[in-house]
Amino acid sequence: MALLDVRDVTMKFGELVANDRVSFTVESGSIVGLIGPNGAGKTTLFNCVTGFLKPTGGAIIFDGADITGYTPYQIARLGAVRTFQVVRPLKEMTVFDNVLVGAFLKTSDNREAFARAAECIEICNLESLQEKPAGELSIGGKKRLELARALATRPKLLMLDEVMAGMTSTEVKVSVEVILRLREGGITLMIVEHVMEGIMPIADKMVVLDGGVKIAEDAPDRIINDESVIEAYLGAKYAQRFKARKEGGLIG
């Protein structure tokens, strides 16, 4: 059974339809990439799944339970935890205390929570910054903090919203390593990325949104050859050229 099952989720803001009957599944233990051009409705869908928005229609099933309309903290307690695209550090608390708040989700015992927080700080390479107020971190540091904090809650499903955006290529590399390590540790990941390059090599499945509609759901290597995806990203002209070249045998 899929860990996350998104069924016909529709989200309207007045007349604007941000998500139109989007359906897909996230299998347990996999990495699923959610991509699409700007304004495709990725973050809206993310907010629906995490309870920050209540979908206008459809259902969201997580770990066998219908969580449609649950509040964010209820969903987090069930084990689906997110990061934010626009980073939200708890500014005046130290990096360590930020992560500690996450660690306290599964235990009220101080020693256990401190140990968990230290572990997640180490995974995300934040040791040297842990005593700093979170507000003083660089953007890359804040992104890693988002990840560490969510990780500290021991989630079943970790949902990352553009966690690699704004990172240097070295930082992206480190993040990819961390993500792979997490999957080995048994965490299922759903990753929203605007940039395809970061997510393509590690995802088991890609879900592509365009204009609020799901246009493709497939393995990454098939997604890059999908006409509608190419059209959404690169425009109709390029898609035609791509098709022509493919037919001419120029691209395998």
Binding site: P72, A76, R82, R88, P89, K91, E92, S108, N110
Partner: protein, 340 residues
């Protein structure tokens, strides 16, 4: 890591508490009952402000309604003694519980308002309670409650000859409230309160039910505030609405904490140690100039503080310490460079 610093801080606190415990044994202090009075008030107002600090400082929900809870505690004790002619204790207990209940009932709708709107709503609540109690005969109305002469001692929580009894009661109150906050600082609930202050949505995304955290924080804050109110009634041997349940009183909770440094353990004590002597000595020496001299100085100090160092006196302390540390490091660096 973090633990070392905390232990060192706790050692300072223990030393300070030991000093406080021995203070009444210094004859020079006890001989002048006015000094004793000032010290008792410092302990009381530090405790009140620390109770406010739980919701206002740590949890970030600025309340101007704390005189309501303070008043409920004061009336609880006052009515037990004056209206029902008994010991204050059952009244204190009822007041404490009632204050927590009232806090939850009035805060639940108010917490749906964010930021400044919550603060404004609490202003209105003080006014409602103030007016109601002023015309409510059962609680003494505009005349207030005057304590009868009863046997002094702990049973009746009243002393007439010396203030030493009151002093130790204030010290117990101080230890209880500061101890509670110190304990909270290091535990899950304390971290959750700060997380809610720093970012409610972020906290929720990590599984924190922010409504429950805020309600629990204000219930605890109100209960401890009511306890202070009860002591205040026992100490003054009188309760009336302008004295305990007014905006004036509400402002003191906020001003003392903000001046000292809100959201810190030592802030309320620093604030009270500066503002209370100021209030009492100006009242005593310049009282003839008409009421309110103390409030003028209060106001000036707060303006200065907010402009110069919004983090409060504790902020100044940290800034100075940082500068000294830097200078020390610089000095060491120079001598090292200068060495052949």
């Amino acid at each position: 890591m973090q633990h070392k610093g905390i232990h060192k801080k706790d050692a300072y606190w223990l030393g300070f508490i030991a000093l406080l415990t021995m203070l009444p044994m210094v004859p020079a202090v006890t001989a002048n009952s006015f000094h004793m009075h000032v010290v008792i008030l410092i302990l009381l107002f530090a405790s009140m402000s620390q109770a406010w600090n739980i919701i206002g400082g740590y949890c970030g929900q600025v309340s101007f309604g704390h005189s309501v809870f303070f008043g409920i505690g004061a009336y609880g004790a006052g009515m037990a003694v004056v209206t029902y002619g008994g010991m204050p204790w059952p009244g204190i207990l009822i007041g404490v519980v009632l204050a927590a209940v009232v806090a939850v009932v009035i805060s639940y709708p108010c917490f749906k308002l964010s930021g400044h709107y919550f603060a404004i709503a609490t202003f209105a609540i003080v006014e409602i309670f103030h007016r109601t109690f002023l015309v409510w005969d059962w609680v003494g109305g505009a005349l207030g409650l005057d304590y009868p002469l009863v046997k002094e001692g702990l049973t009746n929580l009243m002393w007439y000859d010396t203030k030493t009894g009151y002093y130790y009661c204030a010290l117990v109150l101080f230890l209880l409230i500061f101890g509670t906050v110190r304990w909270l600082e290091g535990h899950r609930f304390g971290y959750y309160m700060r997380a809610v202050r720093e970012g409610q949505e972020t906290a929720e995304s990590l599984g924190v039910n922010s409504t429950v955290v805020k309600l629990a924080a204000i219930a605890l804050s109100a209960a401890l505030t009511a306890l202070c109110g009860a002591f205040f009634a026992q100490y003054n041997l009188r309760v009336d609405t302008p004295m305990v349940m007014s905006l004036d009183m509400s402002m003191k909770f906020v001003l003392i904490t903000v001046l000292g440094g809100s959201g810190t353990l030592v802030g309320p004590l620093l604030g009270a140690a500066v503002l209370i002597p100021l209030q009492e000595y100006t009242r005593a020496f310049w009282g003839g100039m008409g009421g309110g001299v103390d409030l003028i100085i209060f106001g000036l100090l707060i303006i200065l503080m907010v402009v110069k160092q919004p983090a409060g006196m504790i902020g100044i302390f940290y800034a100075v310490r940082k500068r000294i540390l830097k200078r020390n490091i610089a000095a060491k660096g120079e001598s090292a460079d200068g060495a052949p």
